[in-house]
């Protein structure tokens, strides 16, 4: 068997966040080089501590015997109660398959969380617990894909799960550019143009993906922008996939998070199918390894939803530890409970820290000549624009679009690889997410510890100045 015997869609799929640059970083690390992994939103790999109550709850539910020994005094009362509740509601314990959609009382807790967050109704029968958001997103793609002409509109730049999944499933990708000059919002005429071009090619658009807060952009969409998107989806009979996994990562009071569910409810929109995703991997929990998350579905018939449950049932159910962490996320310690104080302290420390780090990173990198970046207002990323000198005798604007992407992708890859080799800083080239022709970016997280962030920006600055100098055309 060789590579030509494999699924050609697999060969086409790329996932830059874990691509060649990361492999190189791992190799360098094995050789003894210190690597700062800014390639992936993996907070606990960068020294973020897990929230105490989450892990206490896991320990007690994994090993319920602790509740019967004097070891229990190490656990706050409210966490003991919560553990007992989980073990009562899910009497088989964490070792049994749950319902395909996840434990019912946790789905109810998710619905309560949404009701509280948005002051709208939410139905636990339309909540499904998933192994991280990724698996829920792939479930919806699987369901909505009728054939290779089924088109999914995705933002450029995007999180490469989307392009990889579309390539893997052999569907059609419809790009729409985010408006970098306008806080990375979606632009209506751009959406119209993008969908028209797709239809001209015989593509049948079925859904639009929106990532809010943005990955890799670190931006937060305004309510007006979300309304525009919902109206656009309605006019074009599209489903909306709302990737809202960074909803807790909000750093700018002027730009609060608005969920699609809430805005739809305000608009009394009852037709546009909405699939929204949340995850325990981001926010302030950062429990990436536990692969927990949920998907809420709205404006979808029972008949269609049954197909979603069937699809989930083929993999049996999401993992139970991830389900418990999801429960912890949506039902944290309440005012007056023993573990509340520590929870609030840990939460605020993490979020405060992220906000500060976003500011340092954004401010410092924006000062580098040839770099441009606003302070991220959400998520865990900055999508940093940088200039590269034109190469002598090469005219990208005369290339075919494919050639140009290839050429420019080679350039930002070379940049990020050299950055890695020289500084140990591992970021992801903009071409891994997509960017407008003629522009270069890289995505970096702002997850490293605060004291490292400042150093990091200095290293990037030094590298950038030296790299662009040596790469400048000889005649400059």
């Amino acid at each position: 068997m060789n590579i030509n015997d494999l699924n050609p869609n697999l060969l086409k799929a790329h996932y830059a966040v874990r691509g060649k640059i990361v492999s190189r970083a791992q190799k360098l690390e094995k050789e003894g080089k210190k690597i700062i992994y800014c390639n992936i939103g993996n907070p606990q790999a960068l020294k973020q501590k897990p929230l105490t109550f989450v892990r206490q709850l896991l320990a007690l539910t994994e090993y319920p015997k602790l509740l019967e020994t004097d070891a229990v005094k190490n656990f706050p009362k409210d966490i003991q109660e919560k553990a007992r509740l989980i073990l009562k509601e899910n009497s088989h314990g964490l070792g049994a398959y749950t319902q395909s959609e996840g434990m019912q009382f946790i789905r109810q807790a998710v619905a309560d969380f949404i009701e509280k967050r948005d002051s709208i109704k939410s139905d636990y029968k339309r909540i499904m617990l998933t192994d991280g958001a990724s698996k829920g997103i792939q479930l919806v793609f699987t369901m909505l894909m009728k054939d290779s002409k089924s088109g999914f509109m995705i933002p450029i730049p995007q999180y490469p799960l989307y392009s990889a999944t579309i390539a893997l499933y052999g569907a059609s990708q419809i790009n729409y550019y985010l408006d970098e000059e306008n806080n990375w919002e979606l632009n209506e005429s751009e959406l119209n143009m993008s969908i028209s071009k797709a239809k001209e090619k015989g593509i049948n658009p079925v859904a639009i993906v929106v990532i809010n807060p943005g990955n890799p952009t670190g931006s937060v969409l305004s309510k007006e922008n979300i309304k525009m998107i919902i109206n656009f989806a309605k006019r074009n009979r599209l489903s909306i996939l709302a990737d809202e996994v960074y909803q807790e990562n909000i750093y700018n009071k002027a730009l609060p998070f608005h969920s699609f569910a809430k805005v739809m409810e305000e608009m009394k929109e009852k037709e546009v199918p909405l699939f929204s995703f949340h995850s325990v991997s981001k926010g302030f929990l950062g429990e990436c390894g536990h692969r927990g998350g949920y998907m809420e579905t709205r404006n979808v018939s029972d008949e269609v939803y049954e197909q979603m449950i069937k699809l989930q049932s083929i993999g049996l159910c999401s993992n139970t530890a991830g389900q418990v962490v999801t429960y912890a996320m949506v039902a944290p310690p309440k005012e007056g409970e023993e573990s509340r104080e520590l929870y609030v302290k840990e939460r605020d420390l993490i979020l405060g820290d992220l906000k500060e780090k976003a500011e340092i990173l954004g401010t410092e990198l924006d000062r580098v000549p040839g770099m441009k970046i606003k302070i991220p207002s959400g998520a865990m990323y900055a999508f940093v624009k940088f200039e590269l000198p034109q190469e002598e005798g090469i005219y990208p604007e005369k290339m075919s679009p494919e050639e140009r992407i290839k050429y420019e992708s080679a350039r930002d890859n070379d940049y990020c690889l050299k950055l890695l080799e020289e500084t140990g800083i591992c970021v992801v080239p903009g071409s891994g997410f997509g960017q407008k022709p003629g522009t270069f970016h890289f995505r970096t997280t702002f997850l490293p510890p605060k004291d490292e962030i400042k150093q990091l920006t200095e290293k990037i600055k030094k590298f950038h100045l030296s790299y662009t100098k040596t790469k400048a055309p000889a005649n400059q």
Copy 2:
């Protein structure tokens, strides 16, 4: 959006283990009826206790602070050490994404486990940790499917994950019948006939799936039979998917488990790609909810294996708690360690119990007039053959194959539904797994507690006699 807007492959996919009869059972249970769930291999839902050391290890790794308090005295020394090792080797803890393939030292422990089990070499670089076996299996299907003509040979009867995945991915299913009269082994002439027929239809066979020990058959394949299968795969340039998740569930000393890896090694076979799967859900751990497992790949080039890693990376990694349980499975307490005694006791109790229950179930049901079943020699299931009286004026042998399947499937579904309604026993109709035309079966687990098994067989007997009487043609 209505059902006709969805992926037509999804509409075609069926997963009987969680199908309509189970939904009906859940509804009856809510109405107050006592249900005995024999539909699914979910041991801990049927009162099987989790192994103590597995849960101790999870508690300590989820909440490492326990190691620093006096609560630690509740944990045996060797488990403390094991927890410390996990937290050292995987210094980010369970909250971080791991490498796409899983934590390296756990993959090494899996390779050691295989080496010890089979006295053969195993390479950790070819071990991938997966969310249960299901996700590993689907990964391989995704990779090997070039187009809709790619054919996967699957046993009939089979575990419906296979048919559901083939339907979902739009590949071609190639059935081969297992030889019920011959201990459910694979028959060479049947394999040859089945592959020839597929090729005549323009199908391009790429792989053969073998489930050993068998699901739903409860049988264990002889080494000779495995050799025949490997030679068949080689002649026909097929990959082998060896579903070996029941390898610890062996009840008949005359029929020991032989892994495909070991038999291949004995044959010095270096060409046939082998993907073998194991899971924490079965055996004596029964940790279904934790979705842990691994896949070992042999005879595959680096280039191809890189594609597998890429595919896994799109979902980031398998869940870390499942990875820890996989570690517990492959590296249990050793002779002389503090937790060894309890481990052995718990293990032997579960396996001894399963063996006894298999005997009771097999013996008692075989005595029912019109039922035929050998004592299961492996796995957790009995695939019980039963006779239904011919219906007056209906001639199945005159129907088209499709009509006949539909007719006979309606009959065994009715049988199982009535069994559920009358006795509360939830089993899965044979048509959910596939069966030869003109035969009827149901699959039942032998997981309920021992005292319930005998009762259960009596209830089935009583039901069967009454059901077949009322269904007998009027003139009999």
